[in-house]
Subunit: 443 residues, 2 copies
Amino acid sequence: MLSKKVLLDSHGEDSSYFVGLQMYQKNPYDHVHNPSGIIQMGLAENQLSMDLLESWLAKNSDVTGLKENGGSIFKELALFQDYHGLPSFKKALAEFMEEVRGRRVTLDPTKIVLTAGSTSANETLMFCLAESGDVFLIPTPYYPGYDRDLKWRTGVEIVPIQCSSSNHFRITKCAIEEAYKQAQSLNLNVKGVLITNPSNPLGTTMTHEEINIIIDFCLDKLIHIVSDEIFSATVFSSPNFISVLEALHKRNLEDSIVNNLVHVVYSLSKDLGLSGFRVGMIYSNNEKVISAATKMSSFGLISSQTQHLVSNIIGDKKFMKYYMKENIKRLKKRHEMLVSKLKRIGIKCLKSNAGLFCWVDMRHLLSSKTFEAEIELWNKILFVTKLNISPGSSCHCNEPGWFRICFANVSEDMLNVSMQRLKAFMETSCHDDVCNARRIRVS
Amino acid sequence: MLSKKVLLDSHGEDSSYFVGLQMYQKNPYDHVHNPSGIIQMGLAENQLSMDLLESWLAKNSDVTGLKENGGSIFKELALFQDYHGLPSFKKALAEFMEEVRGRRVTLDPTKIVLTAGSTSANETLMFCLAESGDVFLIPTPYYPGYDRDLKWRTGVEIVPIQCSSSNHFRITKCAIEEAYKQAQSLNLNVKGVLITNPSNPLGTTMTHEEINIIIDFCLDKLIHIVSDEIFSATVFSSPNFISVLEALHKRNLEDSIVNNLVHVVYSLSKDLGLSGFRVGMIYSNNEKVISAATKMSSFGLISSQTQHLVSNIIGDKKFMKYYMKENIKRLKKRHEMLVSKLKRIGIKCLKSNAGLFCWVDMRHLLSSKTFEAEIELWNKILFVTKLNISPGSSCHCNEPGWFRICFANVSEDMLNVSMQRLKAFMETSCHDDVCNARRIRVS
């Protein structure tokens, strides 16, 4: 008597990504009360600069108390359910995004559609751009949640663009064409390419060349580009972040048809660590998409209380300048800490410059070059070592042995404990030849 | 290159309900700055008790400032994105709903799924209970937004259960069976009945008899009941509000199969006037529905900041008791004011005991007994008299001449101005015989 969505469980919660999150919930590490619990390194959460936001709040009790010029603005906010959002909020968001893009692009607040997080933004775009059964191409490895966000309720399909470690998982023209052909051979209608820039789980920013390959391809096929840029303010090393909007601008494509085919997804969950506040958005030049997505935002409006608070935080430009600088400094330090600690125990990471995670090469720890061996290793790390990390297969990586390890949701102490555990694991639990060889080399 | 949802504009924004709201936005009344603007009486908003909530906020700055026991809980909340919601919030919600139901039912907080408003709750239920092309039966007249909420993105169809003024728009067994047969004759698969209790736009609570007719019908056909109870705390006169959950309990049906087929939708937008905060929910006894709907709530989570605030407001039982009593007193007074003023100018209302609106009989003002005449009258009232009210046809009423007039979103002064305008309109603009006859009788 229920829908297939419910009965077939096509939500994707059986993915190891979600299973790991659930396992953590059941036995979370606490250095005093549960020192043998699971350490959560599977969650791309930014906890490093919470104290800065807390200080801001302490100094701005009028904002949190919904007071303005001595009077209460509670009534006005409590009743505000216009799906166009608070104009002041969209203005502040546009300016913040311009700042993150090094002021190399100009954004128009009226082209912003507010959504309850990027989860909703991505689904909304699928409802606007595709029919059930249509396809979006996505470079691998990609965020495990896309299977839910893009496909579950819309019926849209994903065909992966297979990227490989041989060129550091960079997107090539050949790989996109291959994916497009594959979709065609399955008689599927390709409606667009979705990219995540900076990449989750790679932690890398896309090059101008990569972005241009995608723009050219979509221009040739007349299909959409959805650019998920929710990690854009986490870039802690060069090269700079280049938004698809900047690439269009640089090529003077703003008056061409492709301008109407480009849609950016953004949120404050990662850059500001406000995942609980559900602040997401779509930026599009396509008027019809803006209009329809705005109407669809009725299904996931941002609380007006939160719009008001966040509008004031990001509207405080002096504070935000300080926050951005400090946040990036902390991310860089933490990233270096994880990379060097892993290196010390014989584990390498893909070179990265952004994000809240490393893309970690554990191929040498596999008992065989298979995804079964990857899940076997993941199980050991989760249940024996008690670390929740995400196996590459959950990110649809086509090479077994890669894992995503998050570094910004734990304390330095927890990071140390996790690395001690991983070291101990490698010394005791790796029984295959490769592993032994590695241990001998490292010790 | 866009989806049919975007291109065919099936959102329903061309309905007179939405057009009226847009017209108001363009020329809103203000007694000083725009005294000839449109008065908004098409919005079911509860502004009558905002001062009570404002007083509560003024006394609870620790709550709004995200402080607890002297420390900040900002970090914890900012990161909280568990789609199960804050346990304290769901507990407070369950207790509040029990209170509204006169403590005649017991609610389990774990059966609550939080959603960004009832808009999202209703859509989520459709995704869980039906496939594209399946049907829900809904008694007329019904809330114009359902066409968007239930149908637009899900592909679900609505077949109306035709209710009529001859029995005060009460639901009959015959009317439901008629609708069911109609759906069958169209080869459509009926998945459930959706009721709004108290009714929007009627402003009436459903009788035990009506609810039992629906329960029996759904038990017989093994189809779902969705009971939208978002106006449950606006009942200002007898008879009491009876939730479908209470009716099930009274008939000892809690162990029968129908218990798994009943799903309640609720929100705080109407009862507490917090429409901007986007606090909605589903209450269901069906574990599979709870599980799937919880996962779907990722697309429209309630901001954790707002969960925290509202949890504290409704958790303050002494305050809530006072609020509920005072709010109902004010609604009752305002309702009586509108009814008596309309009566004085010769317009009758359906007898009602709940809601934020009256269901107004203007059949005698129509130039003919047609929907064209209804829209003609509505246009005059909107563009000449400058009152935005909602024509019955936008609520799918099958008898021309009924209108919904909202009374809780305007001040007493605005209500007076609106009635003066309506009086003047009737004295100058009604040219048909019936209208003249009415004017003679009234004056």
